[in-house]
Subunit: 298 residues, 2 copies
């Protein structure tokens, strides 16, 4: 069996990321163009990679995970498009190029975000239709899609965004900061990992350990992001440094200080690795990813 590494998964994803966009009539082709623009703007592709790696870890096939991996990336991308809108974070740059609304206008960007969310669910249903003769396979896919819908929804990403909007940095409690991070960032990562697992044959123990891994990885990811916002290089990141403090966003370094943030990042990364320590097969890509994300420069 082929052993996949992080970059292998990312290559597969990048090659197929636009395959599942719906056929759009030429009369509304701008919708397609704007969705494709943001989908193909690159990015780290961490959520879909986690989904594929987790699926393979649980004995599933990477090609069967691909539609769900793309769905997760469509959802993540839609949240970024809406997050960049002037009425939200008002970011002109994303992944080193102009944000969606800077190119297509706010109205089209709003629809492109909406379209990517609906496309994500539509493609998962289309995939399910192919497993109507295999009830057990069908159930795996319904479970996987449910995980994604939960992580992306009002008890996940959107809860985090809502709290993020309403919270001023100076009055942000530790508890609230954890809530924002866990929901805004970690929840869709956890959902990706659990969805990938659902597509394989996970034991209860594996699902539990993967969830622990995901929680720690997700929080570590956001703290690393917050640290980079203070210390990072704009050219490497493809977005403005210092943006969080300018926008009065509550961040880990701002609440806990930079030293404590680095210690916390290290601790969470170790926890993530520890959660996978009793497994030999296919866990390496997950532990390597945790280390890589902690040491990233963008």
């Amino acid at each position: 069996m082929k052993e996949y590494k992080f970059d292998d998964y990312r290559e597969i994803l990048d090659e197929h990321i636009s395959d599942f966009l719906p056929d759009i009539d030429h009369k509304s082709i701008t919708l397609y163009d704007s969705m494709k623009y943001s989908i193909e703007a690159g990015g780290k592709r961490i959520r879909p990679v986690l989904l594929m790696a987790s699926c393979v870890f649980c004995g599933g096939k990477v090609e069967e995970a691909l539609p769900y991996a793309c769905a997760v990336e469509y959802i993540h991308t839609y949240t970024l498009i809406h997050d960049d809108l002037p009425c939200m974070d008002d970011d002109e740059l994303r992944r080193g190029i102009p944000s969606n609304h800077m190119v297509f206008g706010e109205d089209v960007a709003t629809l492109a975000g909406d379209g990517l969310q609906s496309a994500a669910f539509e493609l998962m249903f289309q995939d399910m239709l192919m497993y109507f003769d295999e009830p057990e396979e069908l159930k795996k896919r319904v479970r996987a899609a449910y995980e994604i819908s939960k992580g992306a929804g009002c008890r996940g990403v959107l809860a985090g965004q809502m709290a993020d909007i309403e919270t001023q940095s100076e009055s942000c409690s530790h508890e609230m900061l954890d809530f924002i991070h866990l929901n805004k960032t970690a929840s869709l990562m956890i959902a990706s990992i659990r969805a990938g697992a659902r597509l394989g044959n996970p034991t209860d123990e594996m699902l539990k350990d993967l969830t622990t891994y995901g929680e720690n990885l997700g929080l570590a990811f956001q703290i690393a992001d917050d640290i980079l916002d203070v210390t990072g290089d704009e050219k490497i990141m493809g977005k403005k440094a210092g943006a969080d403090s300018q926008k009065d966003k509550a961040t880990y370094p701002q609440i806990h200080g930079l030293d404590d943030s680095r210690r916390k990042l290290e601790e969470l990364t170790q926890n993530a690795i520890e959660a996978m320590s009793s497994y030999y097969d296919n866990a390496e890509v997950l532990t390597a990813l945790a280390k890589e994300l902690a040491n990233r420069r963008y």
Copy 2:
């Protein structure tokens, strides 16, 4: 068996419309409040009623259709919230009360729309999980959800909204106007009818006839809307009359004239009724609805 009328379905819907909103943490409760605000603002509830009526027409149970009926109304409501945003149609009034962003702000309204879309899919998956021991019932629900995702997506409502944004009224062709109406308005009605049918036991013939009914009803509905925008009473409609022409929207009366619009409305309504003419059981609510919508004043 109880014979349901339009108002019975609407009452059931209104009674349960908020039951399926996700439990949202108190830290992001504004998201819940804003979603609930628009969901409970009333409206004609035509799509969910069509879904329930079509399900019963095809031998299904109204209580089993309810989650999907609510999902369709969540999706319809999200499109209205986003449509009302300043960057889109910039409408301050909806269903007789201030639009979502006028109460909660544009950022929250954007998230509330996103949240209602994700909640719609989440609740359908939750429903599916309850039918894991009945594969045939599970498949019905996957098919129903797929119909809804298609109608709501980039080959449905969003395609219509996109074309609507890009089309100036003076240069709008007949073909383009039909495209906009069919997608922006009819597609989610057709999807509701087909989804409801999927939850019952439709023959191919029934599914075909219901689709014809839905296409004609959906187009008739939009033409009636366009006519009301010219001739309607603001107080009864709960929104501004004449708004379409002010916004340079292509409408049926503006392209074809008021007389031709009324003729077309009559013709489409007759086609819808005709499509159901060979059925005796439970079709009456559908034909009565077609007549009522053609003669409505709001």
